[in-house]
Amino acid sequence: MDTHIRKVYVPMTETGFYILLCLQQPMHGYGIVQKVRELTEGTILLSPGTMYGSLSKMEKDGLIVLLREEEKRKVYQLTDLGCEVLALEKERIVRLYRNMKEVR
Protein backbone atom coordinates (compact mmCIF):
# COMPACT_ATOMS: atom_id res chain seq x y z
CA MET A 1 0.00 0.00 0.00
CA ASP A 2 1.61 3.29 -1.03
CA THR A 3 1.80 6.45 1.05
CA HIS A 4 -0.92 8.27 -0.94
CA ILE A 5 -3.49 5.59 -0.07
CA ARG A 6 -2.42 5.60 3.57
CA LYS A 7 -2.59 9.36 3.76
CA VAL A 8 -6.06 9.60 2.21
CA TYR A 9 -7.78 6.51 3.63
CA VAL A 10 -6.19 5.75 7.01
CA PRO A 11 -8.14 6.89 8.94
CA MET A 12 -11.06 7.53 6.58
CA THR A 13 -14.33 9.44 6.75
CA GLU A 14 -17.47 7.75 8.00
CA THR A 15 -18.86 7.92 4.46
CA GLY A 16 -15.74 6.23 3.10
CA PHE A 17 -15.95 3.48 5.68
CA TYR A 18 -19.58 2.68 4.95
CA ILE A 19 -18.92 2.61 1.21
CA LEU A 20 -16.10 0.09 1.58
CA LEU A 21 -18.10 -1.92 4.10
CA CYS A 22 -21.03 -2.21 1.69
CA LEU A 23 -18.90 -2.92 -1.37
CA GLN A 24 -17.75 -6.25 -0.03
CA GLN A 25 -20.80 -7.23 -2.09
CA PRO A 26 -21.46 -5.81 -5.59
CA MET A 27 -23.66 -2.74 -5.20
CA HIS A 28 -24.47 0.60 -6.86
CA GLY A 29 -24.26 4.02 -5.25
CA TYR A 30 -27.93 4.36 -4.39
CA GLY A 31 -27.92 0.79 -3.07
CA ILE A 32 -25.22 1.90 -0.63
CA VAL A 33 -27.31 4.92 0.43
CA GLN A 34 -30.26 2.63 1.19
CA LYS A 35 -28.15 0.02 2.96
CA VAL A 36 -26.50 2.63 5.20
CA ARG A 37 -29.84 4.19 6.05
CA GLU A 38 -31.06 0.75 7.07
CA LEU A 39 -27.91 -0.08 9.08
CA THR A 40 -28.00 3.18 11.01
CA GLU A 41 -31.78 3.30 11.38
CA GLY A 42 -32.02 6.47 9.35
CA THR A 43 -29.37 8.38 11.27
CA ILE A 44 -26.88 8.51 8.40
CA LEU A 45 -28.24 9.67 5.09
CA LEU A 46 -25.48 9.75 2.49
CA SER A 47 -25.88 12.44 -0.14
CA PRO A 48 -25.54 11.83 -3.88
CA GLY A 49 -22.78 14.41 -4.47
CA THR A 50 -20.69 12.90 -1.70
CA MET A 51 -21.44 9.38 -2.91
CA TYR A 52 -20.61 10.09 -6.55
CA GLY A 53 -17.40 11.93 -5.67
CA SER A 54 -16.25 9.21 -3.25
CA LEU A 55 -16.96 6.38 -5.66
CA SER A 56 -15.08 7.99 -8.53
CA LYS A 57 -12.15 8.83 -6.25
CA MET A 58 -12.02 5.29 -4.87
CA GLU A 59 -12.21 3.83 -8.35
CA LYS A 60 -9.31 6.02 -9.46
CA ASP A 61 -7.28 4.97 -6.43
CA GLY A 62 -7.96 1.31 -7.18
CA LEU A 63 -9.94 0.52 -4.02
CA ILE A 64 -13.04 -0.48 -5.94
CA VAL A 65 -13.72 -1.63 -9.48
CA LEU A 66 -16.65 -1.06 -11.83
CA LEU A 67 -18.33 -4.39 -12.57
CA ARG A 68 -21.21 -3.38 -14.83
CA GLU A 69 -23.92 -0.82 -15.40
CA GLU A 70 -27.54 -1.65 -14.54
CA GLU A 71 -30.07 0.86 -15.89
CA LYS A 72 -27.61 3.77 -15.68
CA ARG A 73 -26.48 2.68 -12.21
CA LYS A 74 -22.82 1.74 -11.89
CA VAL A 75 -22.21 -1.40 -9.87
CA TYR A 76 -18.93 -1.57 -7.97
CA GLN A 77 -17.08 -4.04 -5.77
CA LEU A 78 -13.95 -3.96 -3.57
CA THR A 79 -10.56 -4.83 -5.06
CA ASP A 80 -7.82 -6.58 -3.08
CA LEU A 81 -6.41 -3.17 -2.20
CA GLY A 82 -9.87 -2.07 -1.06
CA CYS A 83 -10.14 -5.14 1.20
CA GLU A 84 -6.74 -4.33 2.67
CA VAL A 85 -7.74 -0.73 3.41
CA LEU A 86 -11.03 -1.84 4.94
CA ALA A 87 -9.22 -4.39 7.16
CA LEU A 88 -6.88 -1.66 8.41
CA GLU A 89 -9.79 0.64 9.19
CA LYS A 90 -11.69 -2.13 10.98
CA GLU A 91 -8.61 -2.80 13.12
CA ARG A 92 -8.44 0.88 13.98
CA ILE A 93 -12.10 1.00 14.96
CA VAL A 94 -11.80 -2.16 17.09
CA ARG A 95 -8.84 -0.57 18.91
CA LEU A 96 -10.82 2.63 19.36
CA TYR A 97 -13.76 0.69 20.79
CA ARG A 98 -11.54 -1.36 23.12
CA ASN A 99 -9.84 1.76 24.42
CA MET A 100 -13.15 3.47 24.94
CA LYS A 101 -14.25 0.57 27.14
CA GLU A 102 -10.98 0.35 29.07
CA VAL A 103 -10.12 3.96 29.74
CA ARG A 104 -12.48 5.72 32.10
Partner: protein, 179 residues
Amino acid sequence: MRKKIMVRFFTIPEYERECLFLQEQHRQGWKLVSVYFPGIYRFEACEPEEVVYQLDFNEEGRKELHSYVQIFRDCGWEYLFSFMGYTYFRKPVKAMQQEEGIFCDDASRLDMMRRVFKSRMIPLVMLFVLVILPQTFLQASQRDGSLHSFLFYTYVVLFAFYLYIFVRFFLHYRRVSRQ
Protein backbone atom coordinates in the same frame (compact mmCIF):
# COMPACT_ATOMS: atom_id res chain seq x y z
CA MET B 1 -47.20 31.28 -17.92
CA ARG B 2 -45.63 34.33 -16.36
CA LYS B 3 -41.89 34.56 -16.74
CA LYS B 4 -39.22 36.86 -15.46
CA ILE B 5 -35.56 37.45 -15.96
CA MET B 6 -33.19 38.50 -13.22
CA VAL B 7 -29.59 39.57 -13.34
CA ARG B 8 -27.40 38.57 -10.41
CA PHE B 9 -23.67 38.09 -10.26
CA PHE B 10 -21.94 35.65 -8.00
CA THR B 11 -18.18 35.32 -8.02
CA ILE B 12 -16.53 31.93 -8.14
CA PRO B 13 -16.63 30.97 -4.46
CA GLU B 14 -20.21 32.19 -4.00
CA TYR B 15 -22.14 29.18 -5.25
CA GLU B 16 -23.72 28.76 -1.82
CA ARG B 17 -25.13 32.29 -1.98
CA GLU B 18 -26.40 31.55 -5.45
CA CYS B 19 -28.29 28.51 -4.08
CA LEU B 20 -29.85 30.65 -1.34
CA PHE B 21 -30.88 33.24 -3.91
CA LEU B 22 -32.62 30.55 -6.00
CA GLN B 23 -34.29 29.11 -2.91
CA GLU B 24 -35.58 32.58 -2.01
CA GLN B 25 -37.03 33.03 -5.51
CA HIS B 26 -38.83 29.71 -5.29
CA ARG B 27 -40.19 30.70 -1.88
CA GLN B 28 -41.68 33.75 -3.59
CA GLY B 29 -43.23 31.64 -6.34
CA TRP B 30 -40.57 31.75 -9.02
CA LYS B 31 -38.89 28.56 -10.08
CA LEU B 32 -35.64 28.55 -12.00
CA VAL B 33 -35.92 27.55 -15.64
CA SER B 34 -32.50 28.31 -17.05
CA VAL B 35 -29.37 30.38 -16.85
CA TYR B 36 -28.56 31.55 -20.29
CA PHE B 37 -25.63 33.77 -19.75
CA PRO B 38 -23.41 34.11 -16.69
CA GLY B 39 -25.56 36.09 -14.25
CA ILE B 40 -28.80 35.98 -16.25
CA TYR B 41 -31.48 33.78 -14.67
CA ARG B 42 -34.84 32.91 -16.17
CA PHE B 43 -37.75 32.06 -13.87
CA GLU B 44 -41.29 30.83 -14.33
CA ALA B 45 -44.21 31.52 -11.98
CA CYS B 46 -45.09 28.59 -9.72
CA GLU B 47 -46.66 27.78 -6.37
CA PRO B 48 -44.49 29.30 -3.62
CA GLU B 49 -42.60 26.45 -2.00
CA GLU B 50 -39.59 25.74 0.17
CA VAL B 51 -37.15 24.08 -2.23
CA VAL B 52 -33.45 23.53 -1.69
CA TYR B 53 -31.19 24.33 -4.65
CA GLN B 54 -27.72 22.84 -4.90
CA LEU B 55 -24.81 23.20 -7.30
CA ASP B 56 -22.21 20.58 -8.00
CA PHE B 57 -19.05 21.01 -10.01
CA ASN B 58 -17.94 17.70 -11.41
CA GLU B 59 -16.37 17.40 -14.86
CA GLU B 60 -16.28 13.63 -14.72
CA GLY B 61 -19.97 13.54 -13.90
CA ARG B 62 -20.82 15.76 -16.86
CA LYS B 63 -18.93 13.39 -19.16
CA GLU B 64 -21.17 10.48 -18.14
CA LEU B 65 -24.27 12.50 -17.41
CA HIS B 66 -26.72 9.56 -17.39
CA SER B 67 -25.22 7.60 -14.52
CA TYR B 68 -24.22 10.81 -12.71
CA VAL B 69 -27.74 12.24 -12.77
CA GLN B 70 -29.31 8.86 -11.98
CA ILE B 71 -27.88 8.70 -8.46
CA PHE B 72 -29.18 12.22 -7.74
CA ARG B 73 -32.62 11.25 -9.07
CA ASP B 74 -32.65 8.11 -6.93
CA CYS B 75 -31.99 10.34 -3.92
CA GLY B 76 -34.90 12.59 -4.85
CA TRP B 77 -33.00 15.48 -6.48
CA GLU B 78 -34.34 16.95 -9.70
CA TYR B 79 -31.64 17.59 -12.29
CA LEU B 80 -32.16 20.96 -13.95
CA PHE B 81 -29.27 21.59 -16.33
CA SER B 82 -25.56 22.14 -16.53
CA PHE B 83 -24.14 25.57 -17.06
CA MET B 84 -20.51 26.68 -17.20
CA GLY B 85 -19.31 23.55 -15.49
CA TYR B 86 -21.89 23.65 -12.71
CA THR B 87 -24.78 21.22 -12.44
CA TYR B 88 -28.00 22.52 -10.90
CA PHE B 89 -30.22 20.35 -8.69
CA ARG B 90 -33.25 21.00 -6.50
CA LYS B 91 -35.34 19.09 -3.98
CA PRO B 92 -38.47 20.20 -2.11
CA VAL B 93 -38.07 20.40 1.66
CA LYS B 94 -41.28 18.40 2.13
CA ALA B 95 -39.53 15.42 0.51
CA MET B 96 -36.79 15.52 3.16
CA GLN B 97 -36.81 13.91 6.57
CA GLN B 98 -33.92 16.00 7.83
CA GLU B 99 -31.84 18.91 6.60
CA GLU B 100 -30.30 17.75 3.35
CA GLY B 101 -27.83 18.84 0.73
CA ILE B 102 -26.04 17.05 -2.07
CA PHE B 103 -23.00 16.75 0.18
CA CYS B 104 -23.13 15.21 3.63
CA ASP B 105 -19.61 15.72 4.90
CA ASP B 106 -16.99 18.44 4.87
CA ALA B 107 -14.45 16.22 3.12
CA SER B 108 -16.66 16.11 0.02
CA ARG B 109 -17.51 19.83 0.28
CA LEU B 110 -13.79 20.53 0.28
CA ASP B 111 -13.30 18.18 -2.67
CA MET B 112 -15.82 20.17 -4.67
CA MET B 113 -14.00 23.40 -3.85
CA ARG B 114 -10.76 21.83 -5.00
CA ARG B 115 -12.36 20.89 -8.31
CA VAL B 116 -13.64 24.45 -8.73
CA PHE B 117 -10.22 25.78 -7.80
CA LYS B 118 -8.42 23.55 -10.28
CA SER B 119 -10.52 24.38 -13.28
CA ARG B 120 -11.61 27.95 -12.47
CA MET B 121 -9.18 29.64 -10.13
CA ILE B 122 -5.91 28.46 -11.63
CA PRO B 123 -6.57 30.10 -15.04
CA LEU B 124 -7.63 33.28 -13.20
CA VAL B 125 -4.48 33.28 -11.08
CA MET B 126 -2.38 32.81 -14.24
CA LEU B 127 -4.13 35.71 -15.96
CA PHE B 128 -3.68 37.80 -12.86
CA VAL B 129 0.03 37.11 -12.49
CA LEU B 130 0.91 37.22 -16.18
CA VAL B 131 -1.29 40.06 -17.44
CA ILE B 132 -3.12 42.14 -14.88
CA LEU B 133 -0.39 42.51 -12.30
CA PRO B 134 2.38 43.57 -14.76
CA GLN B 135 -0.04 45.72 -16.80
CA THR B 136 -1.23 47.64 -13.74
CA PHE B 137 2.32 48.60 -12.89
CA LEU B 138 3.30 49.21 -16.50
CA GLN B 139 0.34 51.54 -17.03
CA ALA B 140 1.05 53.25 -13.72
CA SER B 141 4.59 54.07 -14.83
CA GLN B 142 3.49 55.42 -18.21
CA ARG B 143 0.58 57.65 -17.26
CA ASP B 144 0.89 60.61 -19.61
CA GLY B 145 -1.89 60.58 -22.23
CA SER B 146 -5.56 60.03 -21.59
CA LEU B 147 -5.45 56.60 -23.23
CA HIS B 148 -2.92 55.44 -20.69
CA SER B 149 -4.96 56.88 -17.87
CA PHE B 150 -7.98 54.99 -19.12
CA LEU B 151 -6.00 51.76 -19.35
CA PHE B 152 -4.53 52.40 -15.95
CA TYR B 153 -7.92 52.74 -14.31
CA THR B 154 -9.23 49.70 -16.16
CA TYR B 155 -6.39 47.62 -14.81
CA VAL B 156 -6.77 49.02 -11.32
CA VAL B 157 -10.43 47.99 -11.36
CA LEU B 158 -9.54 44.53 -12.66
CA PHE B 159 -6.78 44.28 -10.09
CA ALA B 160 -9.18 45.09 -7.26
CA PHE B 161 -11.82 42.71 -8.64
CA TYR B 162 -9.37 39.83 -8.91
CA LEU B 163 -8.05 40.45 -5.42
CA TYR B 164 -11.62 40.44 -4.15
CA ILE B 165 -12.30 37.04 -5.78
CA PHE B 166 -9.07 35.57 -4.43
CA VAL B 167 -9.68 36.80 -0.90
CA ARG B 168 -13.27 35.51 -0.92
CA PHE B 169 -12.18 32.16 -2.22
CA PHE B 170 -9.41 31.92 0.35
CA LEU B 171 -11.71 32.86 3.25
CA HIS B 172 -14.36 30.42 2.12
CA TYR B 173 -11.83 27.63 1.72
CA ARG B 174 -10.39 28.29 5.15
CA ARG B 175 -13.81 28.32 6.73
CA VAL B 176 -14.78 24.96 5.24
CA SER B 177 -11.43 23.31 5.92
CA ARG B 178 -11.50 24.41 9.57
CA GLN B 179 -14.92 22.97 10.31
